[in-house]
Symmetry: C2
Subunit: 206 residues, 2 copies
DNA sequence: GTAACAATTCTACAGGTGTGGATTTCAGGA
DNA sequence: TCCTGAAATCCACACCTGTAGAATTGTTAC
Protein backbone atom coordinates (compact mmCIF):
# COMPACT_ATOMS: atom_id res chain seq x y z
CA UNK A 1 0.00 0.00 0.00
CA UNK A 2 1.68 3.20 1.21
CA UNK A 3 5.09 3.48 -0.47
CA UNK A 4 7.20 3.98 2.67
CA UNK A 5 10.41 3.14 0.89
CA UNK A 6 9.86 -0.52 0.12
CA UNK A 7 6.57 -1.54 1.59
CA UNK A 8 7.99 -3.51 4.53
CA UNK A 9 5.17 -3.73 7.11
CA UNK A 10 4.45 -0.09 7.92
CA UNK A 11 2.18 -0.97 10.82
CA UNK A 12 3.38 -3.51 13.37
CA UNK A 13 6.76 -3.14 15.03
CA UNK A 14 7.43 -6.90 14.81
CA UNK A 15 11.16 -7.61 14.75
CA UNK A 16 13.00 -6.13 11.82
CA UNK A 17 16.26 -7.50 10.42
CA UNK A 18 19.52 -6.80 12.11
CA UNK A 19 21.33 -8.50 14.92
CA UNK A 20 19.60 -7.88 18.24
CA UNK A 21 18.90 -11.09 20.20
CA UNK A 22 21.11 -13.95 21.29
CA UNK A 23 24.12 -13.74 19.05
CA UNK A 24 25.90 -17.07 18.73
CA UNK A 25 23.64 -19.55 20.49
CA UNK A 26 21.13 -19.39 17.64
CA UNK A 27 23.11 -21.94 15.72
CA UNK A 28 22.85 -24.34 18.63
CA UNK A 29 19.14 -23.72 18.93
CA UNK A 30 18.66 -24.65 15.30
CA UNK A 31 20.77 -27.74 15.75
CA UNK A 32 18.78 -28.85 18.77
CA UNK A 33 15.47 -28.29 17.03
CA UNK A 34 16.76 -30.11 13.96
CA UNK A 35 17.78 -33.11 16.03
CA UNK A 36 14.37 -33.28 17.64
CA UNK A 37 12.39 -32.88 14.44
CA UNK A 38 14.57 -35.18 12.34
CA UNK A 39 14.37 -37.79 15.09
CA UNK A 40 10.62 -37.60 15.15
CA UNK A 41 9.79 -37.35 11.47
CA UNK A 42 12.82 -38.53 9.52
CA UNK A 43 14.58 -36.65 6.76
CA UNK A 44 11.74 -36.21 4.31
CA UNK A 45 9.09 -35.64 6.92
CA UNK A 46 11.00 -32.83 8.59
CA UNK A 47 10.68 -29.44 6.95
CA UNK A 48 13.09 -26.56 7.30
CA UNK A 49 10.25 -24.24 8.16
CA UNK A 50 9.08 -26.44 11.01
CA UNK A 51 12.60 -26.80 12.36
CA UNK A 52 13.21 -23.07 12.16
CA UNK A 53 9.95 -22.25 13.84
CA UNK A 54 10.67 -24.77 16.58
CA UNK A 55 13.93 -22.96 17.15
CA UNK A 56 12.15 -19.61 17.16
CA UNK A 57 14.11 -18.46 14.16
CA UNK A 58 13.62 -17.50 10.56
CA UNK A 59 14.01 -20.30 7.99
CA UNK A 60 16.66 -18.23 6.30
CA UNK A 61 18.97 -18.82 9.23
CA UNK A 62 19.10 -22.50 8.47
CA UNK A 63 20.33 -21.75 5.02
CA UNK A 64 22.74 -19.15 6.37
CA UNK A 65 24.37 -21.54 8.82
CA UNK A 66 24.08 -24.92 7.16
CA UNK A 67 23.54 -24.10 3.51
CA UNK A 68 21.51 -27.15 2.69
CA UNK A 69 18.96 -29.46 4.19
CA UNK A 70 21.58 -32.14 3.72
CA UNK A 71 24.12 -30.01 5.54
CA UNK A 72 21.78 -29.50 8.44
CA UNK A 73 21.03 -33.21 8.57
CA UNK A 74 24.70 -34.09 8.57
CA UNK A 75 25.37 -31.63 11.36
CA UNK A 76 22.39 -32.83 13.38
CA UNK A 77 23.07 -36.53 12.94
CA UNK A 78 26.56 -36.48 14.34
CA UNK A 79 26.55 -39.31 16.87
CA UNK A 80 27.45 -38.22 20.37
CA UNK A 81 30.51 -40.42 20.80
CA UNK A 82 33.58 -41.31 18.85
CA UNK A 83 33.50 -44.93 17.63
CA UNK A 84 37.26 -44.81 17.22
CA UNK A 85 37.71 -44.71 20.96
CA UNK A 86 34.47 -46.21 22.25
CA UNK A 87 34.78 -49.53 20.47
CA UNK A 88 38.38 -50.30 21.33
CA UNK A 89 37.56 -49.55 24.95
CA UNK A 90 34.75 -52.09 24.77
CA UNK A 91 37.11 -54.61 23.25
CA UNK A 92 39.91 -53.91 25.69
CA UNK A 93 38.43 -56.07 28.43
CA UNK A 94 38.65 -59.11 26.19
CA UNK A 95 36.07 -61.30 24.48
CA UNK A 96 34.50 -62.53 27.70
CA UNK A 97 31.24 -60.76 28.36
CA UNK A 98 31.71 -58.62 25.27
CA UNK A 99 28.13 -59.26 24.16
CA UNK A 100 26.64 -57.82 27.31
CA UNK A 101 28.99 -54.84 27.22
CA UNK A 102 28.02 -54.01 23.65
CA UNK A 103 24.31 -54.22 24.35
CA UNK A 104 24.62 -52.12 27.47
CA UNK A 105 26.65 -49.51 25.64
CA UNK A 106 24.11 -49.36 22.83
CA UNK A 107 21.15 -49.00 25.17
CA UNK A 108 22.90 -46.35 27.24
CA UNK A 109 23.94 -44.37 24.20
CA UNK A 110 20.44 -44.46 22.80
CA UNK A 111 18.76 -43.45 26.02
CA UNK A 112 21.29 -40.71 26.74
CA UNK A 113 20.84 -39.02 23.37
CA UNK A 114 18.26 -40.75 21.21
CA UNK A 115 18.03 -38.09 18.51
CA UNK A 116 20.88 -39.02 16.17
CA UNK A 117 20.05 -42.72 16.19
CA UNK A 118 16.36 -42.18 15.65
CA UNK A 119 17.04 -39.67 12.92
CA UNK A 120 19.34 -42.04 11.10
CA UNK A 121 17.00 -45.01 11.42
CA UNK A 122 13.97 -42.99 10.39
CA UNK A 123 15.79 -41.38 7.51
CA UNK A 124 17.43 -44.58 6.33
CA UNK A 125 14.20 -46.16 5.18
CA UNK A 126 13.22 -43.45 2.76
CA UNK A 127 16.22 -41.22 2.16
CA UNK A 128 19.10 -42.85 0.35
CA UNK A 129 21.73 -40.48 1.71
CA UNK A 130 20.94 -41.25 5.30
CA UNK A 131 20.65 -44.93 4.52
CA UNK A 132 24.19 -44.62 3.23
CA UNK A 133 25.22 -42.86 6.43
CA UNK A 134 23.79 -45.60 8.60
CA UNK A 135 25.17 -48.35 6.40
CA UNK A 136 28.60 -46.81 6.45
CA UNK A 137 28.41 -46.30 10.20
CA UNK A 138 27.41 -49.91 10.78
CA UNK A 139 29.89 -51.23 8.24
CA UNK A 140 33.01 -49.22 8.87
CA UNK A 141 32.83 -47.84 12.38
CA UNK A 142 31.33 -50.90 14.04
CA UNK A 143 31.60 -53.98 11.87
CA UNK A 144 35.08 -53.17 10.67
CA UNK A 145 36.57 -52.55 14.07
CA UNK A 146 34.83 -55.41 15.79
CA UNK A 147 35.60 -57.86 13.02
CA UNK A 148 39.28 -56.99 13.21
CA UNK A 149 39.40 -58.07 16.83
CA UNK A 150 37.85 -61.50 16.28
CA UNK A 151 39.95 -64.58 15.65
CA UNK A 152 37.01 -66.57 14.38
CA UNK A 153 35.89 -67.41 10.84
CA UNK A 154 33.52 -65.03 9.01
CA UNK A 155 34.19 -62.01 11.20
CA UNK A 156 32.33 -59.62 8.91
CA UNK A 157 29.21 -61.78 8.91
CA UNK A 158 29.40 -62.02 12.69
CA UNK A 159 29.57 -58.27 13.08
CA UNK A 160 26.69 -57.76 10.65
CA UNK A 161 24.58 -60.18 12.67
CA UNK A 162 25.30 -58.13 15.77
CA UNK A 163 24.24 -55.07 13.84
CA UNK A 164 20.98 -56.72 12.82
CA UNK A 165 20.02 -57.47 16.41
CA UNK A 166 20.91 -53.97 17.57
CA UNK A 167 19.05 -52.29 14.74
CA UNK A 168 16.06 -54.51 15.45
CA UNK A 169 16.16 -53.54 19.10
CA UNK A 170 16.24 -49.87 18.15
CA UNK A 171 13.26 -50.27 15.85
CA UNK A 172 11.07 -52.32 18.13
CA UNK A 173 11.91 -50.77 21.48
CA UNK A 174 12.41 -47.12 20.58
CA UNK A 175 10.65 -46.42 17.30
CA UNK A 176 7.72 -48.80 17.10
CA UNK A 177 7.53 -49.03 20.90
CA UNK A 178 6.21 -52.56 20.94
CA UNK A 179 5.28 -53.65 24.44
CA UNK A 180 6.54 -55.07 26.67
CA UNK A 181 9.98 -54.57 25.14
CA UNK A 182 9.54 -50.81 25.12
CA UNK A 183 9.03 -50.51 28.88
CA UNK A 184 11.26 -53.21 30.25
CA UNK A 185 14.34 -51.97 32.18
CA UNK A 186 17.71 -51.81 30.49
CA UNK A 187 19.07 -54.68 32.59
CA UNK A 188 16.45 -57.01 31.21
CA UNK A 189 17.39 -56.06 27.67
CA UNK A 190 21.04 -56.63 28.40
CA UNK A 191 20.34 -60.01 29.93
CA UNK A 192 18.20 -61.06 26.98
CA UNK A 193 20.35 -59.80 24.09
CA UNK A 194 23.79 -60.19 25.63
CA UNK A 195 24.11 -63.93 25.00
CA UNK A 196 22.78 -63.49 21.48
CA UNK A 197 25.43 -60.94 20.63
CA UNK A 198 28.08 -63.00 22.36
CA UNK A 199 27.18 -66.03 20.29
CA UNK A 200 27.21 -64.04 17.05
CA UNK A 201 30.69 -62.84 17.94
CA UNK A 202 32.40 -65.93 19.28
CA UNK A 203 30.04 -68.89 19.03
CA UNK A 204 29.27 -71.55 16.46
CA UNK A 205 27.12 -70.31 13.61
CA UNK A 206 26.20 -73.62 11.99
CA UNK B 1 -6.68 -19.95 -26.12
CA UNK B 2 -9.37 -20.63 -28.76
CA UNK B 3 -12.71 -21.06 -26.94
CA UNK B 4 -13.75 -24.35 -28.51
CA UNK B 5 -16.37 -25.05 -25.89
CA UNK B 6 -14.25 -25.58 -22.83
CA UNK B 7 -10.67 -25.67 -23.91
CA UNK B 8 -10.18 -29.43 -23.80
CA UNK B 9 -7.18 -30.14 -26.07
CA UNK B 10 -8.44 -29.11 -29.48
CA UNK B 11 -5.34 -30.44 -31.24
CA UNK B 12 -4.06 -33.88 -30.31
CA UNK B 13 -6.31 -36.93 -30.35
CA UNK B 14 -4.71 -38.25 -27.16
CA UNK B 15 -7.09 -40.50 -25.22
CA UNK B 16 -10.30 -38.83 -24.17
CA UNK B 17 -12.39 -39.95 -21.21
CA UNK B 18 -14.64 -42.89 -21.49
CA UNK B 19 -14.01 -46.57 -21.04
CA UNK B 20 -11.90 -48.02 -23.85
CA UNK B 21 -8.93 -50.07 -22.56
CA UNK B 22 -8.64 -52.98 -20.19
CA UNK B 23 -11.74 -52.83 -18.07
CA UNK B 24 -11.20 -54.49 -14.72
CA UNK B 25 -7.50 -55.24 -14.56
CA UNK B 26 -6.70 -51.57 -14.12
CA UNK B 27 -7.33 -51.85 -10.43
CA UNK B 28 -4.76 -54.60 -10.19
CA UNK B 29 -2.26 -52.58 -12.18
CA UNK B 30 -2.60 -49.70 -9.73
CA UNK B 31 -2.21 -52.07 -6.81
CA UNK B 32 0.92 -53.60 -8.26
CA UNK B 33 2.46 -50.23 -8.97
CA UNK B 34 1.52 -49.02 -5.50
CA UNK B 35 3.22 -52.02 -3.89
CA UNK B 36 6.39 -51.38 -5.83
CA UNK B 37 6.54 -47.65 -5.19
CA UNK B 38 5.53 -47.84 -1.53
CA UNK B 39 8.11 -50.57 -1.02
CA UNK B 40 10.81 -48.45 -2.56
CA UNK B 41 10.03 -45.04 -1.14
CA UNK B 42 7.80 -45.50 1.87
CA UNK B 43 4.46 -43.85 2.49
CA UNK B 44 5.48 -40.21 2.39
CA UNK B 45 8.02 -40.62 -0.37
CA UNK B 46 5.55 -42.25 -2.71
CA UNK B 47 3.26 -39.91 -4.59
CA UNK B 48 -0.08 -40.79 -6.11
CA UNK B 49 0.97 -39.25 -9.39
CA UNK B 50 4.07 -41.40 -9.60
CA UNK B 51 2.14 -44.53 -8.73
CA UNK B 52 -0.54 -43.76 -11.29
CA UNK B 53 1.96 -43.03 -14.00
CA UNK B 54 3.84 -46.24 -13.21
CA UNK B 55 0.56 -48.06 -13.71
CA UNK B 56 -0.05 -46.18 -16.95
CA UNK B 57 -3.20 -44.66 -15.58
CA UNK B 58 -4.63 -41.30 -14.63
CA UNK B 59 -4.17 -40.24 -10.99
CA UNK B 60 -7.89 -39.84 -10.72
CA UNK B 61 -8.29 -43.60 -10.97
CA UNK B 62 -6.51 -44.06 -7.68
CA UNK B 63 -9.03 -41.85 -6.02
CA UNK B 64 -11.83 -43.57 -7.87
CA UNK B 65 -10.86 -47.04 -6.69
CA UNK B 66 -9.24 -46.46 -3.32
CA UNK B 67 -10.55 -43.08 -2.25
CA UNK B 68 -7.60 -42.11 -0.18
CA UNK B 69 -3.84 -42.42 -0.13
CA UNK B 70 -4.38 -44.25 3.14
CA UNK B 71 -6.86 -46.55 1.47
CA UNK B 72 -4.43 -47.36 -1.29
CA UNK B 73 -1.70 -48.00 1.23
CA UNK B 74 -3.91 -50.32 3.23
CA UNK B 75 -4.86 -52.25 0.13
CA UNK B 76 -1.27 -52.45 -1.08
CA UNK B 77 0.20 -53.47 2.25
CA UNK B 78 -1.93 -56.52 2.74
CA UNK B 79 0.56 -59.23 3.60
CA UNK B 80 0.47 -62.20 1.26
CA UNK B 81 -0.40 -64.85 3.82
CA UNK B 82 -2.85 -65.29 6.62
CA UNK B 83 -1.18 -65.26 10.04
CA UNK B 84 -4.17 -67.02 11.47
CA UNK B 85 -3.26 -70.18 9.63
CA UNK B 86 0.47 -69.76 9.01
CA UNK B 87 1.50 -69.40 12.62
CA UNK B 88 -0.46 -72.32 14.06
CA UNK B 89 1.01 -74.49 11.32
CA UNK B 90 4.48 -73.42 12.42
CA UNK B 91 3.62 -74.21 16.00
CA UNK B 92 2.00 -77.52 15.20
CA UNK B 93 5.28 -79.40 14.94
CA UNK B 94 6.07 -78.57 18.55
CA UNK B 95 8.63 -76.35 20.22
CA UNK B 96 11.63 -78.29 18.96
CA UNK B 97 13.28 -76.51 16.07
CA UNK B 98 10.62 -73.81 16.17
CA UNK B 99 13.26 -71.08 15.97
CA UNK B 100 14.64 -72.31 12.69
CA UNK B 101 11.19 -72.83 11.25
CA UNK B 102 10.17 -69.26 12.08
CA UNK B 103 13.30 -67.74 10.57
CA UNK B 104 12.97 -69.84 7.44
CA UNK B 105 9.33 -68.88 7.06
CA UNK B 106 10.14 -65.20 7.48
CA UNK B 107 12.96 -65.26 4.94
CA UNK B 108 10.88 -67.19 2.43
CA UNK B 109 7.91 -64.88 2.83
CA UNK B 110 10.07 -61.82 2.37
CA UNK B 111 11.87 -63.14 -0.66
CA UNK B 112 8.68 -64.41 -2.28
CA UNK B 113 6.89 -61.06 -2.03
CA UNK B 114 9.04 -58.36 -0.51
CA UNK B 115 6.78 -55.42 -1.27
CA UNK B 116 4.35 -55.45 1.66
CA UNK B 117 7.06 -55.96 4.25
CA UNK B 118 9.34 -53.32 2.81
CA UNK B 119 6.45 -50.91 2.50
CA UNK B 120 5.44 -51.41 6.11
CA UNK B 121 8.98 -51.09 7.43
CA UNK B 122 9.73 -48.05 5.32
CA UNK B 123 6.46 -46.42 6.19
CA UNK B 124 6.66 -47.24 9.87
CA UNK B 125 9.61 -44.97 10.50
CA UNK B 126 7.98 -41.80 9.29
CA UNK B 127 4.26 -42.39 9.00
CA UNK B 128 2.43 -43.00 12.24
CA UNK B 129 -0.45 -44.90 10.63
CA UNK B 130 1.77 -47.51 9.10
CA UNK B 131 3.84 -47.70 12.25
CA UNK B 132 0.57 -48.59 13.93
CA UNK B 133 -0.14 -51.21 11.29
CA UNK B 134 3.24 -52.84 11.78
CA UNK B 135 3.01 -52.62 15.55
CA UNK B 136 -0.40 -54.19 15.53
CA UNK B 137 0.75 -56.89 13.14
CA UNK B 138 3.74 -57.72 15.30
CA UNK B 139 1.77 -57.49 18.50
CA UNK B 140 -1.47 -59.25 17.69
CA UNK B 141 -0.87 -61.52 14.78
CA UNK B 142 2.56 -62.74 15.78
CA UNK B 143 3.36 -61.99 19.40
CA UNK B 144 -0.11 -62.83 20.63
CA UNK B 145 -0.39 -66.18 18.91
CA UNK B 146 3.13 -67.28 19.65
CA UNK B 147 2.98 -66.18 23.25
CA UNK B 148 -0.17 -68.20 23.77
CA UNK B 149 1.62 -71.38 22.79
CA UNK B 150 4.51 -70.96 25.21
CA UNK B 151 4.50 -72.48 28.69
CA UNK B 152 7.38 -70.33 29.86
CA UNK B 153 7.45 -67.14 31.95
CA UNK B 154 7.20 -63.76 30.17
CA UNK B 155 5.74 -65.08 26.93
CA UNK B 156 4.97 -61.62 25.56
CA UNK B 157 8.49 -60.41 26.14
CA UNK B 158 9.83 -63.52 24.46
CA UNK B 159 7.71 -62.97 21.39
CA UNK B 160 8.70 -59.30 21.21
CA UNK B 161 12.36 -60.31 21.33
CA UNK B 162 11.76 -62.62 18.39
CA UNK B 163 10.12 -59.71 16.61
CA UNK B 164 13.12 -57.49 17.27
CA UNK B 165 15.53 -59.95 15.68
CA UNK B 166 13.30 -60.47 12.67
CA UNK B 167 12.71 -56.76 12.13
CA UNK B 168 16.44 -56.18 12.45
CA UNK B 169 17.10 -58.85 9.86
CA UNK B 170 14.65 -57.20 7.50
CA UNK B 171 16.25 -53.81 7.95
CA UNK B 172 19.87 -54.89 7.61
CA UNK B 173 19.54 -57.59 4.96
CA UNK B 174 16.79 -56.22 2.75
CA UNK B 175 16.54 -52.48 3.27
CA UNK B 176 20.01 -51.27 4.21
CA UNK B 177 21.62 -54.19 2.37
CA UNK B 178 24.62 -54.38 4.63
CA UNK B 179 27.16 -56.88 3.36
CA UNK B 180 27.82 -59.71 3.77
CA UNK B 181 24.44 -60.33 5.37
CA UNK B 182 22.62 -59.11 2.29
CA UNK B 183 24.17 -61.68 -0.05
CA UNK B 184 24.51 -64.71 2.14
CA UNK B 185 22.21 -67.66 1.28
CA UNK B 186 19.02 -68.22 3.20
CA UNK B 187 20.36 -71.35 4.85
CA UNK B 188 23.16 -69.38 6.46
CA UNK B 189 20.67 -66.90 7.87
CA UNK B 190 18.53 -69.70 9.22
CA UNK B 191 21.52 -71.36 10.84
CA UNK B 192 22.66 -68.11 12.42
CA UNK B 193 19.33 -66.75 13.67
CA UNK B 194 17.53 -70.00 14.40
CA UNK B 195 19.19 -70.65 17.78
CA UNK B 196 18.69 -67.02 18.77
CA UNK B 197 14.97 -67.20 18.14
CA UNK B 198 14.78 -70.59 19.81
CA UNK B 199 16.44 -69.24 22.92
CA UNK B 200 14.15 -66.21 23.04
CA UNK B 201 11.19 -68.57 22.89
CA UNK B 202 12.16 -71.37 25.22
CA UNK B 203 15.52 -70.61 26.83
CA UNK B 204 16.70 -68.85 29.94
CA UNK B 205 16.56 -65.07 29.68
CA UNK B 206 18.58 -64.13 32.75
C1' DG C 1 34.54 7.89 11.74
C1' DT C 2 33.92 4.53 8.53
C1' DA C 3 34.19 0.41 6.18
C1' DA C 4 33.56 -4.48 6.32
C1' DC C 5 31.26 -8.33 8.03
C1' DA C 6 28.01 -11.38 10.22
C1' DA C 7 23.29 -12.04 11.79
C1' DT C 8 18.78 -11.70 10.77
C1' DT C 9 14.47 -10.83 8.40
C1' DC C 10 11.26 -10.67 4.43
C1' DT C 11 9.42 -11.73 -0.09
C1' DA C 12 9.46 -14.49 -4.22
C1' DC C 13 9.72 -18.43 -7.17
C1' DA C 14 9.06 -22.72 -9.26
C1' DG C 15 7.59 -27.14 -8.42
C1' DG C 16 5.24 -30.94 -6.29
C1' DT C 17 1.35 -32.70 -3.15
C1' DG C 18 -3.34 -34.73 -2.00
C1' DT C 19 -7.92 -33.85 -2.95
C1' DG C 20 -12.21 -32.40 -5.27
C1' DG C 21 -15.28 -32.12 -8.99
C1' DA C 22 -16.89 -31.67 -13.85
C1' DT C 23 -17.05 -34.19 -17.94
C1' DT C 24 -17.09 -37.79 -21.21
C1' DT C 25 -17.50 -42.30 -23.02
C1' DC C 26 -18.88 -46.98 -22.93
C1' DA C 27 -21.59 -51.34 -21.54
C1' DG C 28 -25.68 -53.55 -20.00
C1' DG C 29 -30.38 -53.81 -18.43
C1' DA C 30 -35.41 -52.18 -18.61
C1' DT D 1 -34.81 -47.44 -27.28
C1' DC D 2 -33.47 -45.00 -23.25
C1' DC D 3 -31.25 -44.76 -18.95
C1' DT D 4 -28.32 -45.84 -15.24
C1' DG D 5 -23.88 -46.59 -13.58
C1' DA D 6 -19.07 -47.53 -13.90
C1' DA D 7 -14.55 -46.36 -15.98
C1' DA D 8 -11.67 -42.94 -17.20
C1' DT D 9 -9.86 -38.27 -18.27
C1' DC D 10 -8.85 -33.37 -17.36
C1' DC D 11 -8.57 -29.16 -14.84
C1' DA D 12 -8.34 -26.54 -10.56
C1' DC D 13 -7.43 -25.48 -5.82
C1' DA D 14 -5.06 -24.75 -1.80
C1' DC D 15 -1.10 -25.85 0.49
C1' DC D 16 3.58 -26.94 1.53
C1' DT D 17 8.32 -27.64 0.03
C1' DG D 18 13.45 -26.22 -0.70
C1' DT D 19 15.96 -22.63 -2.47
C1' DA D 20 17.29 -17.97 -3.67
C1' DG D 21 18.28 -13.23 -3.12
C1' DA D 22 17.53 -8.53 -1.46
C1' DA D 23 17.31 -5.57 2.49
C1' DT D 24 18.40 -4.09 7.10
C1' DT D 25 20.83 -3.79 11.31
C1' DG D 26 24.40 -4.40 14.83
C1' DT D 27 29.24 -5.23 15.90
C1' DT D 28 33.94 -5.02 15.21
C1' DA D 29 38.45 -3.53 13.09
C1' DC D 30 40.95 0.02 11.17
Amino acid sequence: MSPTGGGRGAGRPARRPGRPPGSGNTREAVLAAARAVFAERGFDGASLRVIASAAGVDPGMVRHFFGDKEGLFRAASRIPFDPAEAIPSLLAAGLDGLGERIVRFFVSAWEAGPAPFAAMLRGATSHERSAAMLREFVTHAVVGRVAAALDRPNPALRAALVGSQLVGLGMVRYILRVEPLASVPADTVVAALGPTVQRYLTGDLD
